[in-house]
């Protein structure tokens, strides 16, 4: 009886290789390709204002950073409250280059893919360095160590003139094969770049988790003494996890600097770290799809609160202060509600929906 590769039913494996497929059915793969095509084509068909494009770009960059954070906090179980510092390291690497060799230098404007990778590498080095305490500390204490790195990072940027003491360091516009990316195309261009990077990294991490290293990450998270007894090196695994997270965050930081055409300290503060953690948790800690849902949900929430505030201002014009207090209120409320009622995040809802659709019309 031949296997039906199109639907979930009647689909059985006859070799180990078949069991290791990413897409179990042709239908899955087809849908995924259609999704990718839609993501690439829709901006050309449907015009979106600059503001929303900026928001979308921001979401994509946050996804890159959150993939890294999920890797270290979700899969390796190492709580990191300093993730914005990693992103900042990537952004400031680019900014330091801009400051020393000129912000419209050829390296920055033409060789920007190289600069992205360099920023990622610097982020990885920094991440490994921050991960060194992980060799000795556990859980809570590691979280506080990352917090202290965040504060030291903030002070360092504010102090040294090399970083313009926290003020924005400008970065020039980039060149693509068709010439300089002008202001009108700026957001669209970086949308595509960020999208490509998100897809590449997403696939990379998905594959990573199927390898030996991915499994050792999960083993170290669950019980690192047992992992040690089984022959894995938990310390090195943890440092690698931090380094990887640092790499992703570094690339995200460089993208951020290019998108905003500058790097300033206000984008990489403790509040931003907390926001990243919130995105990871609301999305679903320890899942790859969670890294996609989390940033989208939190940033969209921000926007909706702003819209709601605008709408409320029509009724309470003198109460501007009242209305804009809703932002931190809803942010906190969403986090708390999710943690109380759905601790596994939006990814869990997605999983439930998907299983329901897959098994339909069967119930289980």
């Amino acid at each position: 009886m031949s296997a039906n590769r199109w639907l979930a039913t009647g689909n059985f494996f006859s070799s180990y290789k078949e069991e290791q497929r990413i897409f179990f059915t042709h239908l899955d793969r087809l849908l995924f390709c259609v999704l990718l095509a839609v993501l690439f084509i829709w901006p050309l068909v449907y015009e979106v204002s600059n503001k929303y494009m900026l928001v979308l770009d921001n979401i994509l960059i946050a996804m890159v950073a959150i993939i890294g954070l999920n890797l270290v906090t979700g899969f390796a179980g190492l709580i990191s409250i300093g993730h914005a510092a990693f992103v900042g390291v990537g952004a400031y690497t680019l900014a330091v280059f801009a400051r020393t060799i000129g912000d419209s230098h050829v390296l920055i404007t033409h060789a920007w893919p190289l600069m992205l990778i360099v920023s990622g590498a610097v982020g990885a080095v920094f991440g490994a360095f921050v991960g060194l305490p992980a060799l000795r500390l556990k859980h809570l204490y590691l979280a506080i160590a990352t917090l202290s790195f965040q504060m030291i990072f903030q002070w360092t940027i504010n102090f040294f003139p090399l970083f313009n003491q926290g003020q924005t360091i400008p970065v020039g516009r980039v060149y693509w094969f068709t010439g300089m990316v002008s202001r009108g195309d700026h957001y669209l261009f970086w949308y595509y770049v960020a999208l490509v990077i998100v897809i590449v990294f997403g696939l990379a991490v998905r594959n990573l988790l199927r390898t030996r290293y991915g499994r050792s990450l999960v083993a170290v998270r669950d019980n690192d003494r047992a992992a040690d007894a089984m022959g894995m090196n938990p310390g090195l695994t943890k440092v690698y996890a931090f380094a990887l997270a640092g790499f992703f965050a570094g690339v995200a930081g460089a993208l951020h600097a290019y998108l905003y055409r500058g790097a300033g300290i206000e984008s990489f503060t403790l509040a931003q770290s907390i926001s990243y953690l919130a995105m990871a948790i609301v999305g679903g800690l320890g899942t790859l799809t969670g890294s996609f849902f989390g940033p989208a949900a939190i940033r969209m929430l921000d926007l909706q609160v702003e819209n709601m505030v605008e709408w409320m201002k029509q009724f309470l014009p003198a109460a501007m202060n009242l209305a804009t207090a809703f932002k931190p209120l809803t942010f906190g409320l969403v986090i708390v509600l999710f943690l109380m009622f759905e601790p596994r995040g939006i990814a869990n809802w997605w999983r439930i929906c998907r299983t329901y659709v897959k098994l339909w019309p069967f119930r289980y």
Binding site: S49, N50, K51, L54, V55, N58, N158, N164, Q165, G166, Q167, T168, P170, R183, Y260, R261, G262, G264, E266, S267, L301, L303, Q304, V305, E306, N307, M308, V309, E310, W311, A318, M320, N321, T324, A325, K327, P328, L337, F341, E342
Partner: protein
């Protein structure tokens, strides 16, 4: 468990629905303002926003532009540059022709965008760095460097006996450090003053040691460039130690002076009697010195139901001033029957000098702009706290007049 999940979904659905029910009625002239109404420096931002809003309402209600109205788009960015940029883009999408910004950080970060979009901008930040490498940014008044220089000159002019020893007390950021360089340059160019120490404060709970150190070095004057809260803590500690000078330049005591953001009624509120004898340099008229401009501001606040604290805040006055500048520029363009575009507004604002200077009732001097002079009010007024109220000292003067060397 299920019920609460349903509630969560309901809440999210309601929020999502509300997001679609928003579309601002398209009025005629749109002016955008993105500032910190909550978050850092919101104690200055909130009254500023109210000042802008109230003046535009006054313009609309009294039909100062005929049948056209101004629609201010005011957004809170919580002092975050990312959000300011997003608001700026949104305002551009809405068709804004004139922009009012707030924080130093975002003004510097968006400099290039302003130049590329060719839109005139009047920020609340008076940082001198805003004028470098930019053509479209117009400061409302003198810059922080000018104000610090102004108080330094006042010290030199009124100090009796020898070279005054001065310490600077600044905010640990570029906002605080910017004027230090300019003051040092003035000293090199001949300002007879000795800068003994430049202190960057943190969240100090106790400044006793620092004050004693300054006293031991013979410092008599402390120039402050920061926000009100640290200055209040500083003067309160000085009062406790008995170090505040009862008259200007008293021997073996400290006289405190500060730039625009150090003073105002908030300082008196925070520091109480310790603020007595504090010297403050700003280009705005204060409600404690009654005059035509201040009566106007107070009436405006009363008309739109603002409480006393807001009405007497110099940030409220500052907000009305920048709104006045924007309105005036539009009015002039309209009078010349020109279309309200950014280029025309830019032409109008750079022509605002000489006979065309704007005599805003809320500032100590006329507001003049040209292609080379992008500081609005060129004059500075010194105020000092006497019996808990800021009173004017002397006449408005132009800071740095004797030291126009390395500008």
């Amino acid at each position: 468990m299920k019920m609460s999940k349903r509630i969560l979904i309901l809440v999210i659905a309601v929020v999502a629905v509300f997001s679609f029910g928003v579309s601002a009625q398209a009025e005629v002239y749109k002016i955008g303002l993105s500032l910190a109404i909550t978050g850092p420096t919101s104690d200055a931002g909130a009254p500023y926003a109210k000042g802008v809003e109230d003046y535009f309402r006054y313009v609309n209600d009294n039909k100062l532009l005929g049948n056209d109205t101004i629609e201010p788009m005011i957004r809170d960015d919580q002092y975050k540059t990312d959000i300011t940029k997003r608001n700026f883009e949104e305002f551009l999408d809405e068709g804004m022709e004139f922009y009012l910004n707030y924080s130093t950080g975002s003004t510097l970060a968006l400099k290039r965008d302003f130049d590329e979009e060719k839109i005139p901008v009047v920020p609340a930040s008076m940082d001198a760095g805003n004028l470098i490498d930019s053509t479209y940014i117009f400061l409302p008044t003198t810059s922080y460097s000018d104000q610090t220089l102004g108080v330094a000159e006042y010290v030199v002019r009124n100090h009796k006996g020898g070279v005054p020893k001065v310490a600077m007390f600044i905010h640990p950021s570029a906002f605080g450090r910017a004027p230090v360089e300019d003051v040092k340059k003035a000293v090199e160019a001949g300002l007879k003053m000795e800068i003994v120490e430049v202190v960057e404060h943190g969240t100090d709970l106790d400044n006793t040691a620092m004050l004693q150190r300054l006293m031991s070095k013979g410092v008599q004057y402390v120039l402050c460039q920061t926000v009100q809260s640290p200055v209040a803590t500083l003067v309160k500690d000085a009062e406790r130690l008995g170090l505040i000078a009862s008259r200007f330049g008293e021997e073996k005591k400290l006289t405190f002076l500060g730039a625009h953001y150090t003073g105002g009624n908030d300082l008196i509120l925070l520091a109480g009697s310790a603020a007595e004898g504090f010297y403050w340099a700003t280009s705005f008229n204060l409600t404690s010195e009654p005059g035509e401009g201040t009566t106007f501001v107070l009436d405006l606040a009363k008309k739109y139901g603002r409480d006393d604290q807001t009405a007497n805040s110099h940030n409220y006055t500052a907000g009305t001033t920048v709104a006045q500048i924007a309105t005036e520029v539009i009015k002039r363009a309209k009078a010349k029957k020109k279309e309200i575009t950014r280029d025309n507004l830019y032409a109008e604002i750079t022509a605002m000098n000489g006979a065309n200077a704007l005599n805003a009732k809320t500032t100590v001097g006329p507001i003049t702009y040209s292609k080379t002079d992008r500081k609005g009010v060129d004059l500075l007024q010194i105020y000092s706290v006497q019996k808990g109220v800021f009173k004017a000292v002397g006449k408005p003067f132009e800071p740095g007049a004797a030291f126009k060397t390395k500008k």
